[in-house]
């Protein structure tokens, strides 16, 4: 079971790294992720059925995801649709597009060659890919482009004064994020040997949950979080889901469990547990002046 949790955790970690760019860095809640995850899976499934090389299928999935990200970005930046709605509109459209790509609602992969067909344990391949994406992102955030990307989410006004078009930076950021999410979808399809149009539902929330859980835990440590919280958070998240199932909850309760986990993580992150009751009134006879000397 542990191995399964780790494998799935690291596949979702790649997705969480994508969500990290939009949600954490660009401050853009990108709902299109729920559509790009199955987009990557659909593109991969149909390519593998037709006998394409699995690595090539991964690359094409990334390109497809980036194209979807471009659509979200253009809706938001050029047509001035709010960030949440642009993502939802693209997600909605992608559902039909995914159906068109596969021609039906799901595609099983029975004997097709996948990235896991090589004689290497799948856990090694998955961890390797997740770390590769993390390291590449970490490097990107240390480049000039990465600085501008961070500043765009932090203070767009400053980026404008630097003579840089924030619209273009946002679009590129959303494209990279959706490309990564589609890659995660592609790996997921190859891992479970199966692609389904419905597999993207709630992916964005899972990504958020992972990031927030990671941050809640890593907040206590004196290290810089960055992308590590997305990576570790997805492991915590998958682990807690597995624990809930192990404890006897039926699989039908999964969504409810997800929702409760996110709420718990948010409450912990916001320091809600430290909440103390404060009486807003004086019962009489007490000091009304807080400074003891002037009382």
């Amino acid at each position: 079971m542990i191995e399964g949790v780790l494998e799935q955790g690291f596949i979702f970690a790649i997705m969480a790294l994508g969500v990290y760019i939009t949600y954490k860095v660009l401050n853009f809640p990108d709902m299109s992720v729920d559509g790009t995850f199955p987009l990557g899976a659909s593109v991969t499934a149909i390519m593998l059925v037709r006998g394409a090389d699995p690595l090539f299928a991964c690359v094409i999935s990334i390109v497809a995801g980036m194209a979807a990200g471009l659509a979200t970005g253009i809706l938001h930046v050029k047509f001035r649709i709010t960030n949440l709605l642009s993502g939802i509109l693209v997600m909605l459209g992608l559902y039909s597009i995914n159906l068109r790509i596969m021609g039906k609602s799901n595609t099983p992969l029975f004997t097709e060659k996948t990235i896991f067909s090589a004689n290497v344990p799948s856990i090694v391949i998955i961890i390797g890919l997740a770390l590769l994406v993390k390291v590449l992102l970490d490097i990107m955030f240390r480049t000039k482009f990465g600085f501008i990307l961070k500043a765009t989410g932090d203070n767009p006004n400053m980026v404008t004064t630097l003579g840089v078009d924030i619209g273009i930076i946002k679009i590129i950021g959303i494209m990279i994020a959706n490309g990564i999410v589609a890659l995660s979808g592609s790996i997921m399809a190859q891992y479970q040997r199966f692609s389904d149009v419905g597999m993207g539902t709630g992916v964005m929330v899972m990504g958020l949950a992972s990031i927030i859980m990671g941050e809640s835990v890593l907040k206590a440590l004196p290290i810089r979080f960055g992308t590590s919280c997305a990576l570790l958070g997805s492991l915590f998240y998958k682990g807690s889901i597995a624990a809930a199932l192990k404890a006897g909850l039926p699989a039908t309760d999964l969504r409810l469990v997800t929702s409760v986990i996110v709420i718990t993580a948010l409450v912990i992150y916001n320091g809600g547990l430290k909440m103390k009751f404060k009486w807003g009134f004086n019962l009489g006879g007490g000091k009304t002046v807080t400074h003891s000397k002037s009382a």
Partner: protein
């Protein structure tokens, strides 16, 4: 010397065709020579900040033309105009990225008008240069390179913003009440820094201020605005001989004249 900034026949009306219609500029013209350091004063609602925002492309205008360095910038997007213009705002939070470090912010400003590509964001050989320029501010920022800008005081941030705006040698520096949100002592430090930076690098500057003393002592030209018009424009010796008291008299004269015409209208 040539005209660096030419504003001709500028018209701007807010909330056009509504009950809240507010006609601010009705044919405003302003010429600024290369190397001029202009201080702009005026009452609230006179259009000082709006003028600066129109020049920088943040707010669109209705009619007229603006030429900067010989180029028509009337319909140019804000980020393009920003390539020629350096800005510091009243709010110290506006010009820096709070969750990034001093060094990261400075490195970005250093790279202004160059390509933000995939080379390292912090160039090792630039660190010394950045440290040197920060030490000129004498606020101890050169020892806080790894500190997040959000943790700095308003004065430190504003000094950084000033440095960042001037570093790329813009054609025009727009300072929009950049000392208004600071305490008197810090405000004085920033004023001295402004004077030093502007005179050293000879950047053409428009500085909006509410401090009459600073408006007189700083710069070589003074403009007073009232209700979208330039009501006073003096420079050189005449400006130097001004006193805050004299300015107040001039200012209230203008206001009285306006009130009188209002009263006549309603009489």
């Amino acid at each position: 010397m040539g005209k660096l900034l030419r504003i001709q026949n500028l018209h701007k009306t807010f909330n056009k065709d509504t009950v809240n219609e507010n006609k601010l500029f009705n044919g405003l013209s302003l010429h600024v020579r290369k190397g001029d350091f202009v201080t702009v004063i005026g009452s609230n609602g006179a259009g000082k900040s709006t003028l600066l925002n129109i020049i920088s492309g943040t707010i669109p205008f209705d009619e007229g033309s603006i030429f900067l360095n010989g180029k028509d910038i009337s319909n140019v997007p804000e980020y393009r105009i920003s390539k020629l213009v350096g800005r510091v705002f009243q709010d110290p939070k506006m010009a820096t990225s709070p969750s990034m470090t001093v060094l990261e912010n400075m490195s970005m400003a250093w790279n202004k008008n160059k390509f933000f590509g995939l080379s390292w964001g912090i160039e090792k050989n630039k660190i010394k240069e950045i440290r040197n320029s920060l030490s000129k501010l004498s606020l101890g920022l050169e020892n806080k390179l790894e500190v997040k800008v959000g943790l700095l005081s308003g004065g430190q941030r504003q000094a950084m913003a000033l440095l960042m705006a001037a570093i790329s040698n813009p054609c025009l520096l727009l300072l929009d009440e950049h000392m208004a949100a600071l305490d008197p002592k810090t405000s004085e430090i920033i004023a001295q820094l402004t004077d030093k930076i502007v005179t050293e690098s000879k950047i053409t500057t428009l500085m909006v201020t509410h401090n009459l003393k600073q408006a007189i002592t700083m710069g070589n030209r003074l403009i007073m605005m009232h209700r979208g018009r330039i009501v006073l424009d003096i420079e050189g010796e005449e400006k130097k001989s001004l006193t805050p008291e004299r300015l107040m008299v001039l200012f209230s004269d203008k206001e009285k004249a306006d009130m009188l015409s209002d009263r006549l209208m309603f009489a």
